[in-house]
């Protein structure tokens, strides 16, 4: 047996797991090899020393700490299962802020529908005809638009603003026309002056 072979078998020798003939060969090598004998002695000594070592006992509070973390970890496991099934977007939708926003949107649409006199009723198979759906949507859109326009035009504030704007426009037009007529009169005078006739002389002559 060589030293390298002994090193391979040394662990099993220490465990008492070698066959009789292997053990005999190994012990014969140990008797004649100083370095292997020292190695075996060291290994045996350390193994015996470690056997005397007291086990490292965890403090009692460690168990409590780990068990305290257990619900958090279980929640994480359940959340990861949920996420793997539905993806991360479901989690973001279930945020209270998003849910409140959705609720407000639904409320707004229901109020608009109420205002536009869109009454909910039982759905019939004929309602699913695309042409009918399109015609209905088109009709309702126009009706809703007309109602909205009519409501807007009948608002007191809108009427006041429109009448005020109309007054301003009229005033502006009147001012523009007055200015234009004034300019025409001025240009007539200038033409008369440029032709060499003094109006005062003319008047004197006429007198």
């Amino acid at each position: 047996m060589t030293c390298a072979e002994l090193e391979i078998l040394l662990c099993d020798y220490m465990d008492g797991a070698l066959r009789v003939e292997e053990r005999a060969a190994l012990e014969a090598h140990l008797a004649g090899c100083t370095s292997c004998s020292e190695l075996a002695k060291d290994v045996a000594g350390v193994t015996a020393f470690i056997e005397k070592v007291a086990p490292a006992e965890p403090p009692a509070e460690l168990l409590t700490r780990i068990l305290h973390e257990l619900p958090t970890a279980q929640a994480a496991v359940k959340r990861s299962w949920w996420r793997s099934l539905f993806g991360g977007w479901v989690h973001s939708i279930l945020q209270p802020r998003y849910v409140m926003g959705m609720a407000m949107t639904v409320l707004s649409f229901s109020m608009i529908a109420k205002f536009a006199h869109i009454e909910p009723r039982q759905l019939r198979p004929s309602d699913l005809d695309p042409v009918k759906i399109w015609a209905s949507i088109d009709d309702r859109t126009h009706r809703a638009w007309d109602r909205a326009v009519k409501y807007y035009e009948n608002m007191r504030l809108v009427i006041e603003i429109q009448s005020r704007v109309k007054e301003w426009n009229d005033q502006e037009q009147a001012q523009n026309s007055a200015t234009r007529s004034g300019r025409q009169a001025d240009s007539g005078k200038q033409k008369a002056e440029s032709s060499g006739q003094k109006p005062e002389a003319g008047t004197q002559k006429t007198r």
């Binding site: 290994v43 350390v46 070592v53 086990p55 257990l70």
Partner: protein, 213 residues
């Protein structure tokens, strides 16, 4: 009329190799794991109670720090809670899976704290070992288990991580060579070779500090 003898073995149904292996390895831990996966809180508690000592012991022997060992043990079980589904009872023992998880976390921790350890004075480490060793060097028989534990801790820190983890798993945790090989992902021959080198190195360290072995 000639009769044909049918070999009896032909009628004996032999289960496939994988099925036999799975049945053998379906130990108590695997059943506990199955209960955990069905969401039984009591099973989780039992699992923690059953394995905390082993995980803490490996962490403490490796890091030589009670606080670090406690934190690492907690981290290990947090990972167990999150990754228990990845454990397949047919592919090995739960203890091996748990020890591998612990070992990987320890190696991560070792690499992360390498710089911190480098700044520590080597003289300080030697001093700690000598302080624990000196009063105990009178005779081997006077070494109490706790004192021997402290001396071993000091000596283990002198070993390289590869030798240290092998010695801890075999000599302290008393795992099989096959299991250690699975944990460390190396052949059994390498485990035995590391064990011999680790033990011999430990013997030299202990002798150097006048501890009789």
């Amino acid at each position: 009329m000639a009769t044909v003898a049918i070999p009896a073995a032909k009628w004996n149904w032999v289960p496939p190799y994988r099925m036999v292996r799975a049945a053998d390895s379906l130990d108590a831990d695997s059943q506990l794991v199955e209960r955990c996966l069905t969401g039984q809180d009591a099973a989780w508690e039992d699992l923690v109670k059953l394995h905390t000592r082993r995980v803490y012991s490996i962490c403490y022997r490796f890091t030589n720090s009670d606080a670090e060992a406690q934190d690492l043990t907690q981290d290990v079980f947090m990972r167990v809670f999150k990754n228990l589904k990845s454990f397949r009872s047919g592919e090995g023992l739960f203890v091996v899976w748990l020890t591998r998880l612990t070992r990987n976390l320890l190696i991560d921790h070792y690499r992360r704290t390498r710089m911190d350890r480098a700044t520590e004075s080597i003289e300080d480490q030697v001093k700690v070992l000598e302080e624990t060793a000196t009063p105990l060097s009178r005779t081997d028989r006077m070494l109490a288990g706790r004192e021997a534990s402290e001396i071993l801790q000091g000596a283990l820190q002198k070993l390289s991580p590869e030798l240290r983890e092998t010695v801890i798993l075999r000599d302290i945790e008393e795992m099989e060579y096959r299991e250690i090989a699975q944990v460390l992902n190396v052949p059994e021959g390498t485990v035995k070779s590391r064990l011999n080198r680790g033990r011999a190195e430990l013997a030299r360290i202990l002798r150097r500090h006048k501890v009789q072995i």
